[in-house]
Structure formats: C-alpha cells, structure tokens
C-alpha cells in the first residue's frame, strides 16, 4: 500500500530534536483481530495533531495504547524520548500525570458531582481543599460556556453536550502538558463545537500544550490542527501538514477528507456515509 509520510516540519518542530510523542511500529490485536498493524507517528512539542479515519479503524485504541490503558503487543512508544512500553508501573504512572484526556463518551464519574469530577486529580493527588476546588471548577466550566450552578449536579442530570464539556474541563483543569481528545465535538451543535475548537487552540497556543485530537469533522480539523494523520487498515496511511490535506494524492485520504461516498474505502464505511 502506498504510504506517504511527510513530517510537516514547521519551525516549531525543528526547535526540539526529540518529538514529544513518538510511536514506532505499534501493534495491537484483540484475539485474532489485528487492529493496529504498525502505527508510526511523531508529534512535536506544542504541535496539534488531528487523527482521522473511519469508525472502528483503531483511533481510540491508539490513544489508549499511548497512555498504557491498553498494553500494545509490540513496538515502541516514547514520550520526550523515554520509552514507556514495557516499562514499570511507577514510570507509567509518572508519565500519565503529564497527560489530560477526554474519552469518546465522556467517562465522567457517575457517583461524583460535577465539581468533584472536574477537580478529581487535584483533589486526590494534590489534596486541594474544597473551596479552592469549587472555585477552580466554576472557572473552568464557565470558560466552556456552562453556568456555574452546574457544579453541584451529577453527570446523569446533564445533556450529552454538557457532559462533553465537563469532560473537557476535567482534562484541562490541572493544565497538563499533553492533551488527548477523543471526538471532543461529535454530537455537539456547531456553536458549542466552535467553542471547544477555540478551547483546544487556546490550550495549545497559550499553555504550550501538545495535543492529539480524534475528529471526524473536517472543518474542525482545519481549525485546530497543524498536522493530520489518517489511520487506515491498521497503519498511518498519510501524515502531513493540514495545508496539504486537500491534495495528498492518496485516494483514500482524498475520499475521506472530501467526504465522498464513492471511492476506495470499504463498503462498511460507504454504507455509513450513505446512511449518515
């Protein structure tokens, strides 16, 4: 399969020799089903990468492997040049502290009110007191366009879109260096989606974070990403700067980016595109 890799070297990238995140030949199978067949990916510090691909191609699994939530079967995963695949629990836990992540379906803690969800790590790890935590929760969620009263409600009382925003608040509350977003804008109205795009851009540009965002929304990808990578058949089939996304010369990528129903992508994806 034609595999064209362009590291999309921006001047930011050349500043640091070692990429912030580097995945080499990462493989993962579930039973006999090979989901990742050798993911190669590098993200430089303060860069924002968008990860695209059809549903079920392994985007979420890639992020979970990066955090060690799922142990990859082989390959190499480095954060700031430190290998984390096959390392001991302590190193892994230390490394996770530098990450913030939102999950595809929110994954808010049902048994805790919103403010405790948002400040969970700060409360558990840094023993932040109740008053400070509540203030911080209000600050963070109002930034995301939620009203302050929400902090005393429970996740089940909120709409899907509100839950997504709370999940985002939880991921950024303690200002991590690396942010992973799994479909942060899917299922949201365009305005809220825009707010969340803004926030991701802010986090990366203002706080100097490095971000990886899974998204199906090409307009959003154009706004938030410096670099785009597409997973197809278990490998990164194309990776390059966002400007080059429209003109990759790779049929699968072209089809995906322009949302065409006809093309080389699998019939399952075609079905979905037809239904959607």
């Amino acid at each position: 399969m034609a595999k064209k890799t362009d590291t999309g070297s921006t001047d930011k990238g050349s500043k640091t020799a070692v990429p912030k995140i580097e995945m080499r030949d990462v493989v993962k199978s579930f039973g006999s089903k090979r989901v990742l067949k050798g993911i190669d990916l590098a993200v430089n510090a303060e860069e924002s990468l968008a990860l695209i691909g059809t549903s079920g191609c392994g985007k979420s699994i890639t992020l979970k492997c990066l955090l060690g939530l799922i142990t990859a079967d082989g390959g190499s995963i480095k954060v700031d040049g430190t290998e984390i695949l096959g390392t001991d629990r302590r190193t892994l836990e230390g490394m996770r502290r530098r990450f913030g992540m939102t999950f595809q379906f929110g994954a808010l803690f049902d048994s805790l009110p919103i403010w405790e969800n948002v400040t969970f790590r700060l409360r558990q790890q840094q023993k932040m007191n109740r008053a400070d935590a509540r203030d911080l929760a209000v600050d963070t969620i109002t930034q995301l366009g939620l009203s302050p009263q929400v902090i005393d409600q429970y996740p089940a009382e909120l709409s899907g879109g509100m839950q997504k925003r709370v999940a985002l608040a939880r991921a950024i509350a303690d200002k991590p260096e690396i942010l992973l977003f799994d479909e942060p804008t899917s299922g949201l109205d365009p305005i809220t989606g825009g707010v969340i795009d803004r926030l991701i851009i802010d986090a990366v540009k203002r706080l100097g974070a490095t971000a990886m965002t899974i998204s199906h929304d090409m307009a959003s990808v154009r706004r938030i990403a410096d670099k785009v990578a597409m997973i197809h058949n278990g490998v990164i089939i194309w990776c390059g700067s966002v400007e080059k996304m429209d003109d990759t010369g790779v049929p699968v990528v072209d089809q995906f980016v322009h949302g065409r129903a006809e093309g080389p992508l699998t019939t399952a994806a075609k079905e979905e595109a037809r239904r959607g």
């Binding site: 955090l67 996770r96 994954a107 808010l108 803690f109 790590r121």
Partner: protein, 257 residues
C-alpha cells in the same frame, strides 16, 4: 471421540486460565488494600451499603429461618420425646450454619450483583480508564474499599442476623409451641459456646471477602456493552454463591470439633 477430548481439554485449559486470572486479581486486590492511599470516603460508602442497607434483607431471612427451624425441629424431636432440645437446636443451627450461610447468600445476591454492575458499567463507559488517566489506581479506589468493607461488615450483619434468628425461634417456641419463656431462654444459652459464635463470624468474614472479590473481579473484567455488564452481574452472583457454599464446608471442616 477426538472432538469430545478436544472439548474437555479446552474446558480444562479455560478453567485453569480463569483460576490463574482470579488468583492474580486476588493477590493484587489484597496488596493494594494494604498499601496507602486509603480512600476512606469510598470505604464508608460501602460500609453503609453493605452493612446498613442489607439489614432488612438479612433480618427477614434469619427471622423466618429461625421460626421455621423451631417448628421443624419440634416436629422431629417430638417423635422421640426430645422436645426440650428445640431451643438448643435453634441456637446452634443459627449461629453455626444458617446465620452466616443465609446472610451470605442474600448479600451475594444484593451486593455482589450491584458491585459487578457498578464496576462493570464503569469499565464499559471508560470510567476505569479515566481513573487511571487521572492518576488514581482503580484497584485502590474501587476494589480495595469494597473488599475491606465486605470482610468487615458481614460478621456484624451475621451477628445481628443470629440474634434475630434466635428471636424468631423464641417467638415460635413460646407463642406457638407453648414453651415457658424463661426455660426456653436458659436452654438457648445453656449449651451455646463462644466458639459456636466465633465460627459463624469467621465464616461471615470469609463470605464477605468472597462476595466483594467476585463482584469486583467480574465487574472489572466485564465484557463490552450492556450485555457484558449483564453477564458480569450474573457471574458475580453465581460464582460468589458457589464459593460461599464450598468455603462454608472448608471452614467448618477446619474448625470441626
């Protein structure tokens, strides 16, 4: 024939693999229960759920068991004029066997199921991954408080259940079978030894541990989707009930005499 042997072999391997996984999970759970940090709020929430909210179920079960035991043993012992022993039979059966086993089975249905469902839901909705991501070990935050609470609460539940069961026997003995109240009471205490009660409480602690362990194990390893959680719940109840009955025999045999 070959196919038949293959199936047996596969089943045996599957069993051994499951046994290994459970052993590993148990070792991990016990280890993380002992190590700090301790999540006290989670622990007290579980104590409330297991210890307090199970009281009605356990109380009703032991009450009626004590009552029926008095009736049945009266019928039996009357046939060789040993009606006097009813009080003794009731108190020994309740403290040594019925209290712990019935309370254990009822709590397995109530708590084992809810633990598996709660933790299983957290697994399939990525909340367990979120805990890990937020630098909190799920083994310590979710599993340890439940196992500790289960092991500590069950003996107290069973002690209360014992009292209620004996009281049930007393009610039937005095109001239905016409025993003299003070004689019935003195018979109840006359042959009861401290070791009868402690045996029951040791069993209860073992059952509490097993119920919480199975609830957590099946929830933690729940399959995907609502179907996975449903299966985890069923498996938790079935496996903890079976383990209760097996360990009941083992503990009794160990302390026999």
């Amino acid at each position: 024939m070959i196919g038949f042997l293959q199936n047996i072999g596969r089943a045996a391997l599957g069993f051994l693999a499951a046994f290994g996984r459970i052993t590993l999970f148990t070792a991990n759970a016990v280890r993380w229960t002992c190590l700090p940090p301790y999540y006290m709020r989670q622990f007290f929430r579980q104590v409330l759920d297991i210890g307090y909210f199970s009281l009605p179920v356990v109380g009703l079960t032991t009450l009626f068991s004590g009552m029926v035991l008095a009736l049945q043993s009266y019928t039996g012992f009357a046939r060789f004029s040993a009606e006097d022993t009813v009080a003794t039979v009731v108190v020994l059966s309740v403290t040594r066997e019925l209290g712990p086993v019935l309370a254990g089975l009822m709590v397995a249905g109530r708590i084992g199921a809810s633990m598996a469902a709660e933790i299983g839901t957290m697994r399939v909705t990525d909340q367990i991954d979120a805990l890990d991501t937020l630098s909190t070990r799920p083994m310590q935050y979710l599993v340890a408080p439940r196992i500790l609470a289960g092991t500590i609460c069950l003996p107290f539940l069973v002690l209360i259940g014992d009292l209620i069961g004996v009281f049930g026997g007393y009610i039937v003995g005095v109001y239905r079978l016409g025993f003299n109240p003070s004689i019935y009471l003195s018979r109840t205490l006359e042959y009861l030894e401290f070791s009868d009660v402690t045996l029951g409480l040791i069993k209860a602690a073992v059952f509490g541990f097993l119920i919480a362990l199975m609830g957590c194990y099946h929830g933690y390893n729940s399959g995907r989707g609502a179907e996975g959680v449903g299966r985890a719940t069923t498996n938790a109840v079935v496996s903890s009930s079976i383990l209760i009955l097996i360990s009941n025999y083992l503990v009794t045999a160990l302390f026999f005499g």
